[in-house]
Each structure stands twice: as structure tokens, then as C-alpha cells.
Amino acid sequence: MNYKQVILLFTILSLSACKKQDVYLNKIEGKQINISDSLEINQNIEDIIKPYREHVNANLDSVLAYAVDTYSKSDGDYNTAIGNMMADAVYEQSNPIFNSRTGENIDFVLLNHGGIRSIISKGNITTRTAYEVMPFDNSAVVVKLKGAQVKELLEYLSKAKRAHPISKLHIVLDVDGNFKSATLGDQPLDFSKTYNVATNDYLYNGGDRMDFFKTNDSLYVLDYKVRNVLIDYFTKIDTLKPVIDNRFIQLK
């Protein structure tokens, strides 16, 4: 064999190595691995996270106000201190925005009892408190409700017999638990009128079967998360001392 044959051999070998080799899938193995605390922590990753974590925690733990008592959504029959605070905060914080955009005012507020996700403990109120009470990203909206839908809303609340938070609205049930009256300030509701009702987008979209919101004239999205409503409200006030009042009661 001379050198030409050797070169030829090398050429064939190298060409063959470059050709895409056919492969066939013959086995698949699948499993899942739990990320448990038995795994080591990667320090490079930890170092990147650290400043973010510290900033978030410092901010979440910054004190905004002081709660004079512990407030729970289970304290109260038809209205609770914590629910009243939330509905009042939504009114106070949202009405200036709604008014500046439309020239009108919010007539009343309706939230849901289930939307209060945590108690507020006596002592310092922080941003974290707002995240605990309202972990979801729901936003405040204002819905124009016709009288007929307001009627449905009142029927819903009378039947539900739950302390769904309301603000500005005053509802009385009779001794048997049936609807008796509903007033705004000292005026009874006029079912021939349309009312501006503030709520959150979860309820507007049919959450808690509050279907009356869907059949409305128009919707105003305020781009204001309920959690931010609370943060801004807590920042504004110094001391939190909401009370159970007579906004939604049953006669005895």
C-alpha cells in the first residue's frame, strides 16, 4: 500500500465522520425529582437573590399604621369591622379617581366576605398585612347598575346572610330575616335610577355568583388594585380602629 492509498483511506474515514449518522430512539426513561432541602443551595444564585429579598422584605415589613385591636371577618353578623374598613377604604380611595374621570360619584361599595383572606392583628400594620388580607391581584371597578340589578343585589345580600362588606349603603332585614329597607344616606333607594357601584373585577366577572354585575350599562376600570387601595389607605391613616356598625343589620 502506497501513501496515495493511505490518503484515500483517511479521506474516506473523515468524510464518513462528517456525515450525519442515522439514529433511532430506542428507550425513554422519565421521572420527577423533588426539590427538597436535602439539595445543596447554589451560592451564586443565592447571592443574586439576596438583595432583592432584602428589599422586598424591608418594604413588606415597613410599618404603615397601627391596629388598636385584632380584626377578623368572623367577628360580626351582617357586618364586620375589617369588612367595613375594606369597603370604606375602597370608597375613600376610589371615589376621587372615579370622580376625576367621570364627574360623578360612587354611590355605594360591595365587596365579598370571602375576599378577606386574613385577619389584621393588633399592633403594627405593614405592607405585608395588605398582601395577607388581599393576596390576589383583583382591581377596583365601578359598575353602573340599573335599579332592577340593584334590586337583585339586595335580594342576593338578603338571602346570602353573610357579612359581605358594603360602604355607604344601609340595609335592614326584618325579624324574620327578610329584606325590609335599603337607604343611601337618608334616602331610600330608587329603583328607577341607575347607581354607580364600586366592587372588584372578580365579582364583576361573576365571582361568588354575583351575576347582577354582568347585566350593566357600563364599566369603569380604575386600574387600582384592591391591595394597593389598602396600602394607600393604611399609609394615609395613623391608627386603624374600625367598628361593627348598623350598615347591614337584622331587626330583633
Binding site: 483511506l9 439514529v23 430506542n26 425513554i28 421521572k31 420527577q32 423533588n34 444564585i45 373585577d201
Partner: protein, 304 residues
């Protein structure tokens, strides 16, 4: 020329001329290649591990621990891909404070290769997602979201092909219908296209045109909708399509004991997997390829 015959001839020739110093290991009659696919879904901004007092998942999850695991697996097999099936965003204050910046930065450090888009990734609107893209050193794929009239136009490809150890891997993405799930003002002019048709188009391109050896679908459609059989899901898609080897799912936060083996429209077995949520688990699927056709002649063996 038949490869086997060729090897025999050259082996004889090399023996004759005594090329002792030349390695012929690459010409052994059968070579095996292994591709490892690692995957997560619905991590939802869970950067830190759950605390010891968590009622459900104490001391589980955490990106820094996932990083160590991924690193160890890559060391064992450099031919490893790391994929995510969407809903990277939303779930802890990290997202509320930084809009997804840290999530993308960390995924880039872990060397994620490809991800698809979940409905919650629109939670800061499509502009919010777009704004965080500079932090992502990995690609997003979606074959059924048409972003032409949005800021994401050209930033999200229908599929991506990655070659590892000579094995061509095609990865395409599928997203869930946004209407009724995400507010229109968030996803804007994103157009949702039929996932089944998109999958058929993708497998045609990846199998026939691109000649991929392995086809993976990153899906945020959801694992299965028992009460709504008409709704497209990973299990349903798997049964009515062909040439997909693995569907990595998300959205339904489904914890599976093991990956599900599904027969595709041609009666061939393939896998559907999903690993719950919040970075509690990492999925690991190993694909073994052999140059010997006879080994695969009786079908692919699946061990789960």
C-alpha cells in the same frame, strides 16, 4: 453504502496497514446517545423555598436548590436541555415588586434553553412581558399565539431547533385560549390560533422539513379537563397528533406520580408530563438513541 459493511472493510484495511494510533471507537457497530430533558412549569415567581411552617409544601422548592440539581445533572450529561412550560410570573411579591426581572435573570443563570408563555405571563400586560425580555437569555416559543400586531412580534418564534451530540431536537410551544381567562387589555392584539392545527403544522415542519430526531411540545394548555371533554388538553392533543415524542405541560398545576404514556394517532407511545407547580419538582426525561436500527425495531421502550 451500508455503514456496517463499510466498517468491516475499513477495519480490515486498518489492520493491514497497522494504524494502531488512530482511534476507531467512533466506528463501533452501535453507538448510543443520551439526551436529557429537564423541565419545570407554573413556577409562579416562587424563587425562595417554602418555609418550614408551610402547611402544604414545607422546605420544598427554591431556585438556588434547583440550580444545584440542574448543575449536577448537566455534569453527568452535558447533552441536557432545560425547559419551562409557562406561568413563570405571578404568585409572590417578587413579581409585584420587580415585574418578573428576577425570575428571568435566575432562569438565565440556570441556563434555561426554551420556555413557552402561560396566561399569567400576561399579568403585567403584554408590554410588561416585553419589558422583561432583556433579562431572559433563553428563547420563548409559541406556535398558536400570533403576536404580529403586538410588541412581541418577532420576539417569540413558533419553534426552535437545538442540536445536541448530533441529535436534532425540535421544540415548539402552545398556549391556552386567553379570552375569558386574561383580560383583553392585557393580551391586546394577540391572536389565539387552534392548538391542534398549530401542532400538526409544527410536527410537519419539524419532522419532514427539518428532519428532527426528537420533537417536544411545550404546552400551557392544561393536562386534562375531565368535565369538559371538548376542551383541548395535553392528553387530548397527544392522542390526535403524531410525531411528538414528549409534551411538557402546565397550567393545571397537575402533580403526576409519573409521566403519562399516551398512544398517538398512529398508535405509537409517547409521553405527557407535568410537575405540579411552584418549583417543587423538576421533571427529567432521558431519551436514548442508538445507531443500530434493529434495537428500535420493536418500538421504543418507555420506563416511567
Amino acid at each position: 453504502m451500508k455503514r456496517r459493511d463499510f466498517i468491516q472493510q475499513t477495519a480490515a484495511a486498518s489492520a493491514l496497514i497497522g494504524l494502531g494510533g488512530m482511534s476507531l471507537t467512533s466506528f463501533t457497530p452501535s453507538t448510543t446517545k443520551k439526551i436529557t430533558i429537564l423541565h419545570t412549569n407554573d413556577v409562579h415567581s416562587h424563587i425562595d423555598a417554602f418555609g418550614p411552617d408551610d402547611g402544604r409544601n414545607p422546605n420544598q422548592g427554591g431556585v438556588a436548590r434547583r440550580a444545584s440539581l440542574v448543575e449536577a445533572i448537566r455534569k453527568e450529561n452535558p447533552n441536557t436541555l432545560l425547559l419551562d412550560a409557562g406561568d413563570i410570573f405571578q404568585g409572590t411579591p417578587y413579581f409585584n415588586y420587580y415585574g418578573g426581572e428576577l425570575e428571568f435573570k435566575l432562569m438565565s443563570m440556570l441556563k434555561y434553553d426554551v420556555a413557552t408563555i402561560g396566561n399569567h405571563d400576561f399579568d403585567n400586560s403584554i408590554e410588561g412581558l416585553y419589558a422583561q425580555l432583556p433579562h431572559a437569555k433563553f428563547d420563548f416559543v409559541s406556535a398558536n399565539y400570533d403576536f404580529s400586531n403586538t410588541v412581541l412580534d418577532t420576539h417569540v418564534k413558533p419553534y426552535r431547533i437545538i442540536t445536541k451530540d448530533g441529535i436534532k431536537i425540535g421544540i415548539f410551544g402552545l398556549g391556552i385560549e386567553l379570552e375569558g381567562l386574561v383580560e383583553k387589555r392585557m393580551y391586546k392584539e394577540t391572536v389565539y390560533l387552534d392548538p391542534t392545527e398549530a401542532a400538526q403544522e409544527m410536527t410537519r415542519i419539524l419532522k419532514e422539513d427539518e428532519q428532527c430526531d426528537l420533537i417536544i411540545c411545550l404546552s400551557h394548555l392544561g393536562y386534562n379537563y375531565k368535565n369538559r371533554p371538548e376542551k383541548i388538553s395535553d392528553l387530548k392533543l397527544a392522542g390526535i397528533t403524531k410525531d411528538i415524542d414528549l409534551i411538557i405541560g402546565g397550567h393545571t398545576h397537575t402533580f403526576l406520580k409519573k409521566p403519562t404514556v399516551v398512544k398517538n394517532s398512529e398508535g405509537k407511545n409517547m409521553l405527557v408530563n407535568q410537575v405540579g407547580c411552584y418549583g417543587i419538582n423538576l421533571g427529567k426525561i432521558d431519551f436514548y438513541f442508538d445507531s443500530d436500527k434493529n434495537k428500535a425495531a420493536n418500538g421504543t421502550s418507555i420506563i416511567v
